[in-house]
């Protein structure tokens, strides 16, 4: 191992990139899982094209998967990649700007043909020069021909051979980063259990890739990232969409109710539906509706029938659901609406992340139509905020919108799985005394009504979208409508008494308070941590509770000289804060590129503001 260049790092980011048919998502996922099992903390970011079959070899058809891992806590998939694996020229072109200066590019030299250079729209035959990548370490590996050579005795057709290229790349990367391959091997064996040739050929290519790295060590650098020291317990990798689904499942079990999900497929939220459809074994009923309107309406019907009723969607779907959410507000039924945000407006950037549905969630309905709005901040905490959303809905008889986003939904991280006993109790407001029951009789303190549903004898009543009096009769009385409108708002505000206070990360007073919400957490905390290490008086207040705001929000804000609100939209949370707490000046950092913030750009913005 003498001439191997060993690079020791705290954390390292790798980007797998190729044509959408090259299997890069699988390669990235397998590598991430193997890495998490090895004991590193990881964070991942799949970045795939919205057209599943964009023309082969073009930049539009490039599919990427970035993973960052380290021996300490890793909060982001990394601004820039240390290592890029590029299966064709288009992949290099699409990813050049995501590379760390001086990073390593491993590419399949066989695919750098004139035809492919043309498809990727290179003007010259020097793609690296054209992209100003001269100072980077470039390792040309004849992946295609080595794969072909590796499989020559298998008698496979050309297409199947080419499909195995990703395994060669995966083996090579495993060597570079010293990952044991047993997890990957057992995955392949189980996945293709019925196709022994596929198992054998994939394993052969995987090992040949690994051995290639070892034999060529004079030119391939090797990286060392030590295992992380973390909390004791059972761990798994989880992405935000599955965590969301499972959080709702946990809430159903805790509350003793059956779970019902009415939903319509939409990127990037579909996997919530998929994850729950797979759970008939735990009694989950999923209903794939004809559209989002029906998704919301079936959910409302299930809530009327006494189930824990939830729906999942993304921006355009939330727009379609809005009228029925208004009905949930009026009928005061417990429902949870998960909105996995994506770039908008309209179809926008379906596969890219954004936080631009905040105002839609808060206000996007006719009439005064208040709902509780929560936002998850990491892939794994989607579990807890989904759980909490259900708890709030069931205990306060109110619709709750949970905002996640494409970055959280598809991104994954290792997660210490909790036991059910760690989770707070959930007590649905099911009516008990029929002689005292009135549809809109409220608890004086929390203002929530009671829940009675068909099948419960003696509680028969009617609800609906028309304004009602306490007895549940239709009422056009002006005083009654005014009062009820205020009550519906106050009921939502009362939820503040069951949510945690806003926590300040860092000192409780200082020069600059960084404010953010939802899925940007990983980047925010990394940026603030790095600035604090440089001695700057910067703290972070990251919001998971948007409506109502935590009770101590004002107190937290009052202790800082400057406040800067960072979000992936044009300033929606900032305007909401200006409305709720107008006495402060809110600076803004906004980004609408379909991409997460980078730690670097955040720090630059904070430093600039500190100098002003």
């Amino acid at each position: 191992m003498k001439d191997t260049k060993v690079i020791e790092l705290e954390e390292v980011a790798i980007r797998f990139s190729g044509d959408s048919g090259d299997g890069m998502q699988l390669t990235g996922t397998l590598f991430s899982d193997a890495t998490a099992l090895f004991g590193n903390d990881i964070s991942t970011f799949p970045d795939y094209p919205s057209e599943i079959r964009a023309p082969q070899g073009t930049v539009g058809g490039v599919s990427g998967f970035q993973v960052q891992f380290g021996h300490k806590e890793v909060n982001t998939p990394g601004d820039e990649a240390h290592v890029l694996i590029a299966m064709n020229p288009a992949a290099v072109k699409a990813n050049a700007r995501f590379m760390k200066p001086g990073g390593t590019i491993i590419y399949d030299v066989d695919s750098f043909t004139q035809k492919n250079l043309d498809k990727a729209n290179f003007a010259t035959d020097d793609p690296f020069g054209e992209l100003k990548l001269d100072d980077y370490i470039k390792i040309a590996v004849p992946i295609t021909s080595l794969t072909r050579e590796s499989l020559k005795d298998f008698g496979m057709d050309n297409k199947s051979v080419l499909r195995s290229k990703n395994m060669f790349a995966l083996g090579l990367i495993c060597w570079m980063f010293g990952r044991p391959m047993d997890y990957i091997e057992s995955f392949i064996k189980t996945k293709f259990a019925k196709k022994p040739t596929v198992v054998e050929s994939n394993l052969k290519v995987l090992h040949d890739g690994f051995n290639y790295g070892m034999n060529m060590q004079h030119m391939t650098p090797q990286y060392l990232v030590h295992a992380a020291e973390i909390e004791r317990g059972t761990y798994r990798n989880i992405n935000g969409n599955i965590a969301t689904a499972w959080g709702m499942l946990a809430a159903a079990e805790k509350s003793g109710l059956d779970l019902f999900l009415g939903s319509y497929p939409i990127t990037p939220a579909t996997d919530v539906l998929v994850a729950l459809a797979a759970r008939r074994d735990l009694g989950v009923k999923t209903f794939q509706a004809e559209d989002e309107i029906a998704g919301m309406c079936t959910t409302l019907g299930a809530a009327f029938a006494g189930k824990l009723a939830v729906t999942s969607t993304s921006g355009p779907g939330l727009a379609l659901k809005s009228e029925a959410i208004g009905l949930a507000v009026m009928a005061e039924l417990p429902v949870v609406i998960v909105n996995v945000q994506r770039g908008g407006p309209s179809t926008g950037l379906p596969t890219k992340t954004e936080q631009s549905d905040l105002l839609q969630a808060l206000y996007g309905r006719n009439g005064e139509s208040p709902v509780v709005v929560l936002a998850a901040s990491t892939p794994s905490d989607c579990f807890y905020y989904a759980y909490l959303s259900c708890k709030i809905a069931l205990e306060r008889m109110v619709p709750v919108i949970l905002l996640t986003d494409g970055f959280l939904g598809n991104g994954s991280e290792p997660w210490r799985v909790p036991s059910m006993s760690e989770l707070p109790e959930i007590t649905p407001r099911i009516a008990k005394n029929s002689s005292e029951f009135k549809p809109y009789k409220r608890d004086e303190d929390i203002l929530a009504r009671e829940w009675a549903f068909p099948g419960m004898e003696g509680f028969q009543h009617r609800i609906g979208g028309l304004e009602k009096n306490v007895e549940g009769a239709v009422s056009h009385d002006p005083e009654n409508h005014h009062k009820n409108t205020e009550i519906r708002e106050a009921k939502v505000q009362k939820v503040a008494d069951m949510i945690p206070e806003l926590e300040v990360c860092g000192d409780e007073e200082g020069e600059l308070l960084v404010v953010a919400w939802g899925g940007t957490y990983g980047h925010m905390i990394s940026a603030v941590r790095e600035m604090r290490q440089d001695g700057k008086k910067v703290s972070l207040a990251h919001f998971n509770f948007i409506k109502p705001l935590p009770a101590n929000t004002e107190e937290v804000f009052s202790k800082f000289k400057k406040i800067i609100v960072c979000e992936l939209n044009l300033g929606q949370f900032a305007s909401y804060l200006r409305d709720k707490l107008p006495e402060y000046e809110y600076h803004q950092v906004n980004k609408l590129k379909g991409l997460p913030f980078t730690v670097t750009e955040l720090k630059e913005n904070f430093e600039k503001l500190l100098e002003e």
Binding site: I230, R236, T298, A303, H461
Partner: protein
């Protein structure tokens, strides 16, 4: 259904709310028939749920003493689909207008039917938007003058039964509002049918579309203009029951018994359970003056029922499950243990502190 006779009467299904339909509106008679039907069903009162959209007819749940949900325009079928799928044990009724179910709610209408969810849908067809005061609806005939078609409509109407068959419906029946006895009969059949039952009731709106069904509905001409279908019975009608339907060159035709050599045995026997929709479609399409209008249960065929299939699937999959609860689910699949000398004790999420506080 319960074993003991619950002995409900119509009164048990009336609510204390004052009924606010216009005097003479066809909705009164329909509600009366629904209440009588429910009383006779011997289903515990608390198991009824009546779901409606928006329209005059959709005010219905307020006048019932059962559980009820007056929802939003067009969505009753979707909400009811959620109710029934969530709890198949309930008797779920959908009350909807021609605009509610066939215009704004058209998509839910066809998909509910296609899934064959066990709902009893009563479509109040007054061929007009009543609540919004008289605009044309998807069942208004071409050329008809309304407030929004002062020169006559220039679009063809839906024939609700055609839509039901096109959506692979398993049950379709037709009735006239004022004929309470017949309505009751048809509603009882709809309730008995497992799957989505659609009953189109020809309803008179005295204010905005008075007499729209009069030619058909007039009791004086009932025998000549309405053919009351019964499964297994010959399709006969007329003052003296002297007419009937026969097939000629593959099409239905009215024949008079005793004329042109037609005997009683030549008259077609109604088979509501025939899966092939061919004849049912012809019955639905019959129109005056060449034909009487087909009334009663035109189609009632057996097919898998969504809410029952869903329940069955849950039971079957749970029977062979590998995880029994959420704790086991969280620990299933690829997991690993961390228990290093340097590891710290786990902290429940809601007690976690910010990692920056080094």
């Amino acid at each position: 259904m319960s074993n003991i006779d619950l002995q409900y009467t119509l009164k048990d299904f009336k609510s204390e709310n004052e009924v606010r339909w216009c005097p003479g509106c066809g909705d009164y008679a329909i509600m009366n028939a629904v209440q009588r039907t429910m009383a006779d069903m011997n289903v515990p009162h608390e198991k009824f749920a009546v779901i409606s959209g928006i329209g005059c007819s959709s005010r219905f749940p307020y006048y019932m003493s059962t559980y009820g949900f007056h929802s939003i325009h067009g969505r009753a079928a979707a909400i009811a689909s959620g109710v029934k799928s969530a709890n198949p044990d309930l008797s779920v009724w959908v009350i909807t207008g021609d605009g509610d179910s066939l215009a704004i709610g058209g998509n839910h209408f066809i998909h509910t039917i296609r899934r064959n969810i066990d709902l009893n849908v009563i479509l109040f067809n007054n061929k007009i938007y009543g609540l919004t005061k008289g605009q044309y609806s998807p069942t208004t005939d071409r050329g008809f003058v309304t407030k929004t078609s002062p020169n006559g409509t220039i679009e063809d109407s839906f024939v609700p039964g055609q839509l039901v068959l096109g959506a692979r419906g398993t049950f379709f029946a037709r009735a006239v509002d004022s004929n309470v006895k017949h309505n009751q009969l048809v509603f009882a059949e709809a309730a008995k049918h497992q799957g989505t039952s659609i009953v189109e009731v020809l309803q008179n709106c005295v204010i905005f579309n008075d007499g729209i069904h009069a030619q058909i509905a007039d009791p004086k001409h009932r025998a000549e203009r309405q053919l009351f279908l019964e499964h297994g019975k010959p399709m006969r009608f007329g003052h003296d029951n002297e007419k009937g339907l026969i097939v000629e060159k593959g099409r239905l035709k009215v024949a008079v018994i005793g004329e042109n050599g037609v005997t009683e045995d030549d008259i077609l026997v109604h088979d509501a359970k025939e899966v092939d929709p061919y004849l049912h479609m012809q019955l639905i399409n019959m129109s005056m003056p060449d034909f009487p209008i087909a009334m009663g249960v035109i189609r009632a065929v057996d097919a898998p029922v969504y809410d029952q299939e869903l329940e069955k699937q849950v039971a079957e999959v749970s029977a062979t499950r590998r995880v029994n609860n959420v704790d086991e689910l969280l620990k299933s699949g690829n997991t690993w243990e961390v228990d290093e000398p340097g590891s710290s004790d786990p902290v429940p999420f809601f007690k976690k502190k910010c990692p920056i506080l080094e």
